[in-house]
């Protein structure tokens, strides 16, 4: 078992009478070997066992997007996957994207555009934006709406989120264009 989280109040269910499966994953560049209870969800593994609490669990059925992480280069729900299913995968959580100090570029844009109020859904959006940047999606592409449709914000900040995301994608396009010159 990986190092249990020391956060008080988080109780890790690790009943030895339940069947376990071994798991080897890379999380934010670190190799993790663990033995997990078969029915443990990836979201609970990341939050409760690895202490990576940026991702949030809300709907628990893959609809809302708050638990989105990046698995093997693509955004995916952590709540609709068993931890055991991700053996061999490379997982990135928001903790893996944080700037050493302060906010990273996309986080800054979210702040400037007022793209969050309560912030509960924000880590999920940021992971999707990260994947969109990796895939060099153009800010005017219809794919932008497809990707963003995978997230729900109940503070109804969609318009501001939309503009922050478009700016983030636009800066990336500019950056790669200036590199080519």
């Amino acid at each position: 078992m990986s190092t249990p989280n020391s956060t008080p109040g988080i109780e890790i269910l690790d009943d030895s009478s339940e069947s376990h499966t071994t798991l080897s994953v890379t999380v934010n560049g670190k190799q993790i070997n663990a033995s997990v209870i078969d029915r443990l969800l990836l979201s609970d593994f990341l939050r409760d066992h690895l202490g990576l609490t940026a991702l949030k669990v809300a709907c628990g059925e893959g609809v809302c997007g708050a638990c989105t992480v990046v698995i093997d280069g693509e955004p995916a729900r952590a709540c609709t996957l068993l931890a055991a299913q991700t053996d061999g995968a490379e997982i990135v959580t928001l903790e893996g994207l944080n700037a050493p100090e302060g906010l990273n570029h996309v986080q800054q844009l979210f702040q400037q555009q007022h793209a969050l109020q309560c912030g509960y859904c924000t880590p999920g959006w940021l992971m999707t934006v990260y994947s969109m940047i990796q895939r060099s999606i153009h800010p005017d592409s219809p794919e932008v709406a497809h990707y963003l449709s995978g997230h729900i914000c109940r503070c109804t900040g969609y318009k501001n989120i939309w503009s922050a995301v478009r700016r983030a994608l636009g800066t990336e396009i500019e950056k790669s264009a200036s590199k080519e010159e």
Binding site: L13, E18, S19, T21, I37, D38, R39, L40, L41, D44, G60, E61, G62, G65, T68, I71, E74, P75, A76, R77, C79, T80, L81, L82, A84, Q85, D87, G88, T128, E143, A145, H146, Y147, S149, G150
Partner: protein, 302 residues
């Protein structure tokens, strides 16, 4: 954690999975991408005693091109198939329909074959399978292989006729014929939601603009999708340019359903029946528009 207890097994080969499936335990389920199964287990609307993960089995990640068909392995994820250039060239209808399946964050993990096995009434992939005369390759205990056409798999009102204790190894779709156009239309409550109704259609037009072949499959209207055979027949030999002909065929297609129209929380049977007509007409018009100029005919959007 929310699901009730089960045992998880990472199958090493498909044969290994089939062997474990064939035991006396009725609660064994195949796990592929798990994008529907895991939430159902979490909500405890489904229970399992054992999950057999087939995603690591060798060979299931293959896409292969045979004479006139494209075969997609059971572990191929939707996002990969959606973006694959060979698929786009040979079964563009599938690429387009996959864009309607849930959201990119779900398609990154869900599989094409998983959709076929699950047969969700609002699912898009079974509709494409029917339109493209797909065939499923199954493996049962003792190495028994079986090939089952999509038409037979979905020939009951709900669920599938897939034999129990077998694994779908792959599904083969008919590749696009020279000049064949395709269209996929869907009505949904919001992006990423299941289809209230959807339609997959293809068309081939001869050099004089007459319809040589038309296929229509409808989903969402009834619990399982169906092929609109009567509507397809009425289109044969008709002028593809005539919007009224397409509209009449759409009317027939929506009416000839083999089972009653579906009512659920999101739409009544009356709404679905009515919406299906323009949905089919739209798919047919798109198919006509994409009939290639190889046939000598060309069409512009009205």
């Amino acid at each position: 954690m929310k699901p009730a207890k089960f045992k998880y097994i990472r199958a090493e080969t498909v044969e290994h999975a089939v062997d474990l499936l064939d035991g006396t335990d009725a609660g064994v389920r195949i796990l592929a991408g798990g994008q529907s199964l895991v939430p159902a287990l979490s909500a405890r609307t489904l229970r399992a005693s054992m999950l057999l993960d087939i995603m690591h089995c060798p060979g299931l990640n293959d896409i292969s091109q045979n004479s006139g068909t494209m075969t997609i392995g059971a572990a191929c994820r939707q996002s990969r198939i959606e973006r694959d250039s060979v698929i786009l060239q040979n079964i563009p209808l599938l690429s387009e329909a996959l864009g309607w399946v849930a959201m990119p964050q779900v398609r990154s993990r869900g599989t094409v074959v998983g959709c076929l096995a699950q047969a969700n009434p609002g699912g898009e992939v079974p509709v494409v399978a029917l339109a493209l005369d797909a065939e499923f390759d199954l493996l049962s205990r003792g190495g028994i292989q079986q090939r089952m056409p999509a038409r037979e798999v979905y020939a009951i009102e709900a669920g599938t006729r897939l034999p129990s204790k077998s694994v779908i190894v792959s599904a083969s779709f008919r590749a696009r014929a020279v000049g064949e156009g395709w269209g996929f239309s869907e009505v949904q409550l919001r992006q990423g939601h299941f289809a209230l109704v959807c339609c997959a259609a293809t068309m081939i037009v001869d050099e004089n603009g007459f319809i040589k072949l038309a296929t229509i499959a409808i989903g969402g209207l009834t619990a399982n999708p169906y092929r609109a055979d009567r509507a397809e027949k009425t289109l044969m030999g008709e002028s593809a340019n005539d919007d009224l002909v397409l509209r009449d065929a759409a009317q027939i297609a929506a009416t000839e359903r083999p089972w009653p129209a579906r009512t659920d929380l999101h739409a009544t049977s009356a709404f679905r029946s009515k919406t299906a007509v323009p949905a089919v007409a739209r798919a047919l018009r798109d198919a006509r528009l994409r009939c290639s100029r190889h046939t000598g005919a060309s069409y512009e959007h009205a």
